[in-house]
């Protein structure tokens, strides 16, 4: 039985948007629950605007969740005090999508990598420097790069610096928010390999947020599929790619180009509904090819079947 590292329960995040007197509430995530096991890579997939990134950030409280609990190491991250949270952040790191915006242009690589140790007050300056040089080598950069500024590097190299920054505090888990989607395909493979190498060495867990199902299949152990702020299906990678259960997952899978033994492509009609006014019943019923009468009125409960979870009336 795998040991849980992070247990997210009924997490919600509402954003209040719009000008005064015409304020609307956008429900970015609407009761998301999942478990991240130790040493595991959990994929979080879904189309743009489904709340993947919000979920990833709320899980390490970079965004304050509106309600719900995040159980980590015996504490509820959602209710821990600010000072304790800052200390806990050593364990919970994040890698960003845009390697151009994620590094301060006014700091050298060495300053960028020393900063986490300074903030968490770890080591003497000699120890910090040694640690920085180690990590620079570990992510495949050279010692001479330490004195350079971010703009002197390519996208792939910047992403290596971003990974180095997230690694330097020896975190227990890293949220990777589309870490390769801004990179060339050849560089993507290098960065994915690097992420797998450092995980093999340090044994941390990843929450890997992506819309690229091929990448997710390559790196993830389990996958949670999100639609309009909800997790509709959670399963092991093999089970999900062999036999997707939820109609939305099926549609996603059929859209992977060049898939072996591909069945007919399922085309979803219409757009993703606005998260400001999600549909009643099952959020997916407006676009679901197998929608039934009950789907319009009652939201489906997630049920467990054979080690996987699916929220669809077809399986009740």
């Amino acid at each position: 039985m795998p040991e849980a590292l992070l247990r997210v329960n009924e997490l919600r995040k509402d954003f209040v948007v719009g000008p005064m007197f015409r304020r609307k509430t956008v429900q970015a995530i609407r009761g998301v629950s999942f478990v991240l096991n130790k040493g595991e890579t959990l994929g979080l997939v879904g189309e743009s605007g489904c709340g993947k990134s919000t979920t990833g950030r709320a899980a390490i409280r970079l965004i304050e969740p509106s309600s719900g609990s995040i159980e980590y190491d015996g504490v509820d991250l959602a209710s821990v005090g600010a000072r304790d949270m800052r200390r806990l952040r050593q364990d919970l790191q994040i890698i960003f999508q845009d390697p151009y915006a994620s590094l301060d242009p006014r700091m050298t690589v060495e300053q960028i990598l020393t900063e986490p140790l300074g903030i968490q007050k770890i080591g003497t300056s000699a120890e910090r420097r040694e640690r920085v040089m180690d990590i620079i080598a570990e992510v495949g950069l050279q010692a001479a790069h330490a004195a350079r500024y971010p703009h002197e590097f390519s996208g792939g190299q910047r992403q290596r610096i971003g990974i180095a920054r997230s690694l330097i505090l020896n975190p227990k888990m890293i949220v990777a928010d589309e870490p390769v989607s801004a990179l060339d395909v050849s560089v993507q493979a290098q960065i994915i390999n690097l992420m797998q190498d450092v995980k093999a060495k340090h044994g941390m867990s990843y929450i890997f947020i992506s819309h690229d199902l091929s990448v997710v299949k390559h790196i993830c152990d389990r996958v949670a599929v999100m639609y309009l702020g909800e997790v509709v299906e959670t399963a092991s990678r093999d089970a999900l790619y062999e036999e997707p259960l939820h109609p939305y997952t099926k549609a996603l899978m059929s859209a992977i180009p060049g898939r072996r033994g591909a069945q007919k492509r399922i085309t979803l009609k219409g757009d993703i509904p606005s998260p400001a006014s999600p549909p009643r019943g099952c959020a997916f019923h407006t676009r679901c090819p197998s929608a039934m009468a009950i789907c319009k009125t009652t939201p489906p409960q997630a049920i467990e079947t054979g080690g996987r979870k699916v929220a669809c009336h077809l399986y009740n």
Binding site: R89, F96, D98, D104, P105, P116, Y149, H151, F153, S154
Partner: protein
């Protein structure tokens, strides 16, 4: 895994120091030369001015430049224009620097706070809007009316007039920077908001701050001129480029030199500051290093 293809050329030379970097720019050299010229003039005014700036000589009034030992001519009371321009450098530079320090110092602080802390933004930004809704000179005149005409009043009044503009520009720059991933990354590392604000946000809004500082200096010199012209600025016994211009206006057809030379002094100072400010901004930006 091969990453040889993404390596930039490895440079082994030591990074040049910031000052070397700064003064490798032609604009910085030219700018600092002009500023140094003005500052030296102000400091050495007592020794280099040929006449007492307030010595009246009615017999020699409104003499054109080059006549009777008056290199730049005399004004309507026969006072030596050159001496007044030299002594005016003291007042004008001091007032300009003080106004810039006041407006940019407080404006930057308010801009950082309103851009970064949503809670205070609503209140502070409305106060700034309120200050900006007054026409600048009217506000300054009202303040001198309350506090009496003096250099200190001019600095306070113009400082308060220009401060909200700085605050608003810095606020908008902060709003952009605070959404960037490196700010979020720093929070993820466990930094406090205060740390992020001064370690990451402030350095990345330096460019607009420097540009504002050089602009405001020119506005300040002109604003002081306007207040002096209206009789609520620096008293005429203390020559400033502003009150010289103000007096010269009446005689512009008769004695063009009265207006030209203080005007040139303002222009040279502002030019020097802009050249220096541009160079400083570029030297502070690592992306433009070595260009």
């Amino acid at each position: 895994m091969s990453i040889a293809a993404e390596q930039p050329a490895v440079s082994t030379s030591r990074e040049p120091s910031f000052l070397v970097l700064l003064f490798s720019r032609g604009s910085v050299i030219a700018g600092s030369f002009l500023i140094a010229l003005m500052v030296l003039t102000a400091v050495l005014a007592h020794w280099i001015a040929p006449f007492d700036p307030n010595a009246l000589n009615i017999a020699n009034r409104l003499q054109p430049p080059g006549s009777a030992a008056h290199l730049l001519g005399t004004d309507e009371f026969g006072r030596d224009v050159l001496s007044r321009v030299i002594h005016g450098a003291r007042t004008s530079l001091a007032i300009g620097i003080a106004i810039v320090a006041f407006a940019v110092g407080i404006g930057t602080l308010i801009g950082l706070v309103t851009g970064f802390y949503n809670r205070v933004d609503m209140v502070l930004s409305r106060i700034m809007d309120g200050l900006m809704s007054f026409p600048g000179l009217v506000l300054a005149i009202a303040m001198t009316g309350v506090m009496g005409a003096s250099s200190t009043t001019v600095v306070l009044a113009l400082g308060i007039v220009y401060m909200p503009r700085v605050a608003r520009i810095i606020r908008s720059a902060v709003l952009v920077v605070r959404e960037l991933s490196y700010v979020e990354a720093c929070f993820a590392l466990g930094a406090t908001r205060f740390y992020v604000l001064f370690r990451h946000v402030l350095p990345n809004v330096m460019s607009p701050i420097i540009i504002q500082a050089t602009f405001i200096f020119s506005y300040a010199v002109l604003g002081e001129a306007a207040l002096s012209f209206l009789g609520v600025g620096v008293p005429p016994t203390q020559p400033s480029w502003g009150n010289m211009l103000a007096e010269a206006r009446t005689f512009i057809v008769l004695a063009w030199w009265m207006a030209l030379f203080p005007g040139l002094a303002i222009m040279i100072t502002v030019l020097g500051l802009n050249l220096f400010g541009d160079g400083l901004r570029d030297a502070l930006d690592p992306k433009l290093k070595g260009r």
